[in-house]
């Protein structure tokens, strides 16, 4: 994945070769374009997450890579070979489906052996592989069970086992944790990272859950309405969102209308704030993003501006506080300190924590700008 923001020197992924390449992919359903002229390259051993709201085209991309959909335009390359027209059974990749799609009338062992039997592997090889796969997903001895008798999390593990015994070069995962409860979902995230490291293969993961994406990915591709909004490491996407959509989608954000006074100075609600951004036109309207954890509350006397606490919710690790400020905007704040409702507080934000973004002047232009960014 190549992106402007990829400056992290620890990013060894840059060195591995490109395994999957999508070029100019377009897909239309019932005259509604789902994906338009999309380019994407995925490197070997990368954990790539396609992240976006439902209907953004992320699953369609996965299905195009898997061979279940044919793009109207464009090509898919695997290891340099055009596989656009290749049926799914001829592709060197396996999918873990959203609802697992285990074969209900077969035992777990038969489910896992399905792909191997098609490849005419020997019985002893298959037996070893079943054991290996069940151990790998922490379900040893479950071979004789039927999928119906397993919990959601267990079924999910079997679906993964069924896919990886075939030693694919790429594993496609379509919202695999969507049906699990929170606790299990978090456990499975660690499991998936472990599996990825043990197997050393490429994972392409589709989700609408930003937390999942941030936790597991090497690269996150944020999508909206069939276009790639931003691609990069979790850190770069979280810290330097390229537009208001990405900022809002990745984590909770305060997004405000602002005006650039000059370099390093932005005006929000009539008050000037110091920031670190340069290169915007003087007087240019901008979107300003401030993460809730970056808003500091304290003594009113030392605050850059002041405000009144209108609500406070305990969230476990932190409190989520709404502050109605003197400049007429509401700040959402995450802090470990407790400020009762009605408290009069000072508000400070350090210059580093303002993320300034160009405002799209129209939706069409928004899309164009993003395309410029892509190319």
């Amino acid at each position: 994945m190549i992106s402007e923001s990829e400056t992290d020197p620890s990013e060894v992924m840059c060195l591995s070769k490109i395994l999957i390449e999508l070029k100019g992919i377009s897909k239309t359903y019932d005259n509604t374009p789902v994906i338009d002229e999309l380019d994407l390259s995925i490197r070997e051993n990368e954990f790539v997450t396609l992240l976006g709201p439902s209907g953004c085209g992320k699953t369609t991309i996965l299905r195009i890579i898997g061979g279940f959909e044919t793009p109207d335009k464009g090509s898919v390359y695997f290891d340099g070979v055009d596989i656009t027209k290749l049926p799914p059974n001829k592709r060197q990749l396996n999918t873990v489906f959203q609802k697992y799609s285990l074969f209900t009338h077969m035992t777990v062992a038969d489910n896992i052996a399905f792909g191997l039997r098609i490849r005419k592997k020997s019985d002893s090889y298959i037996k070893d592989k079943i054991k290996y796969a069940l151990d790998l997903v922490n379900l040893p001895g479950y071979g004789d069970r039927y999928p119906d008798s397993l919990s959601g999390g267990q079924q999910q593990r079997i679906a993964i086992a069924r896919a990886i015994v075939n030693e694919p070069k790429v594993l496609l995962l379509d919202e695999p944790l969507g049906a699990l409860d929170l606790k299990l979902r978090q456990e499975m995230q660690y499991e998936l990272i472990r599996l990825k490291n043990e197997l050393g293969i490429t994972f392409i993961y589709v989700t609408h859950d930003q937390e999942e994406a941030l936790t597991m990915s090497d690269t996150i591709v944020v999508m909206n309405q069939g276009y790639i909004q931003q691609a990069g490491t979790p850190e770069s996407i979280y810290n330097e969102p390229i537009n208001a959509f990405v900022a809002d989608f990745i984590g909770e954000s305060n997004i405000y209308d602002g005006i650039m006074v000059r370099d390093r100075l932005v005006n929000i609600g009539g008050l000037d704030f110091e920031c670190v951004d340069e290169g915007f036109g003087e007087g240019e309207p901008v979107d300003v993003v401030i993460r809730p954890e970056d808003v500091e509350l304290g003594d009113p006397a030392s605050g850059h501006t002041t405000g009144t606490v209108t609500s406070i919710i305990f969230k476990g690790v932190h409190y989520e506080i709404q502050v109605e400020s003197a400049i007429g905007i509401t700040f959402m704040v995450q802090t470990t300190q407790n400020f009762p409702v009605g408290s009069y507080v000072g508000i400070n934000i350090i210059p580093d924590n303002f993320q300034i973004m160009h405002k799209p002047r129209s939706e069409a232009e928004e899309i164009l700008n993003i395309n410029d960014y892509q190319s």
Partner: protein
């Protein structure tokens, strides 16, 4: 209390009116007297003479051949049609289902005459025309049995099989078909009963010399009711009853399967 008692009596009357005539028919088939009102003692002679009649044996053979052959062919066509309809988008799906249902509600006599008019144009009326007619009216029943079953299947299982390296045919026969078998069986036996049951359409589309049991009984009865006909009708009823029981039981075991297995 009274409401419940009345309800039971009402139910009793309904069942009585539905089944009493059939029971009378079956009882009379064992009556050694030819009279319809006097019980002359138990006998199997009507059944014996029944099986000595070449016309009846041949009609019996025709009926069974027609029933099973038309049901088998209709099952294959109906399965293909169900798969096709299933993959359609909502609007086309509803349109196709509408046209599928028309033959079900259409009066037999209309279907019968229409098919006859159509057949005389292209081929001589005979066993072939009856067979085609039976396949035609059986297909909707098969679709009606398979389509709901198809709706309950996770169709992604098919994609999962393809993903694991299976060809389309292999994925279909190995993954989808086993789940569809109960629906196909139900459709098949439903078609068998419908075919055996049919008189009107058969009557219009059969050529001279071809007789199924129902057309034979009709012909015989015009000459006067003979006790053999009671025996024949009883056998026909029994066959249909057994097939329906098979449909019912196969449908039930199929429902049980969806419950989580106990381990």
């Amino acid at each position: 209390m009274i409401r419940r008692a009345l309800g039971k009596i009402y139910l009793g009357i309904v069942v009585l009116f539905m089944y009493a005539p059939i029971i009378v028919l079956i009882v009379l088939s064992f009556n050694s007297s030819k009279s319809r009102v006097v019980w002359g003692g138990f006998t199997l002679k009507w059944y014996r003479t029944l099986f000595e009649s070449d016309a009846i044996i041949s009609a019996f053979g025709t009926t069974l051949t027609l029933a099973f052959l038309s049901a088998a062919i209709a099952s294959v066509i109906g399965l293909a049609a169900s798969l096709g309809i299933y993959t359609m988008r909502k609007r086309n799906y509803r349109i196709m289902l509408f046209f599928t249902n028309i033959p079900l509600v259409n009066a037999d006599i209309v279907t019968g005459i229409a098919l006859m008019l159509w057949f005389v144009r292209f081929l001589e009326l005979g066993i072939t025309s009856v067979l085609i007619a039976h396949i035609t009216f059986n297909i909707p029943y098969v679709i009606l049995c398979i389509l709901p079953k198809l709706e309950t299947i996770d169709i992604r299982q098919f994609e999962a099989a393809r993903d694991l390296g299976a060809t389309g045919l292999h994925a279909f026969t190995r993954i989808l078909l086993p789940d569809l078998v109960p629906g196909i069986m139900a459709g098949f036996f439903m078609a068998v009963t419908m075919s055996m049951d049919d008189f009107v359409i058969t009557y219009f589309t059969k050529g001279p010399g071809v007789n199924t049991l129902s057309t034979l009984i009709y012909g015989e009865i015009r000459k006067g009711i003979k006790p053999e006909m009671y025996a024949l009708s009883s056998i026909l009823f029994l066959i249909v009853l057994i097939t329906l029981l098979i449909v019912y039981i196969s449908g039930r075991t199929n429902n049980n399967k969806s419950e989580p297995a106990d381990y």
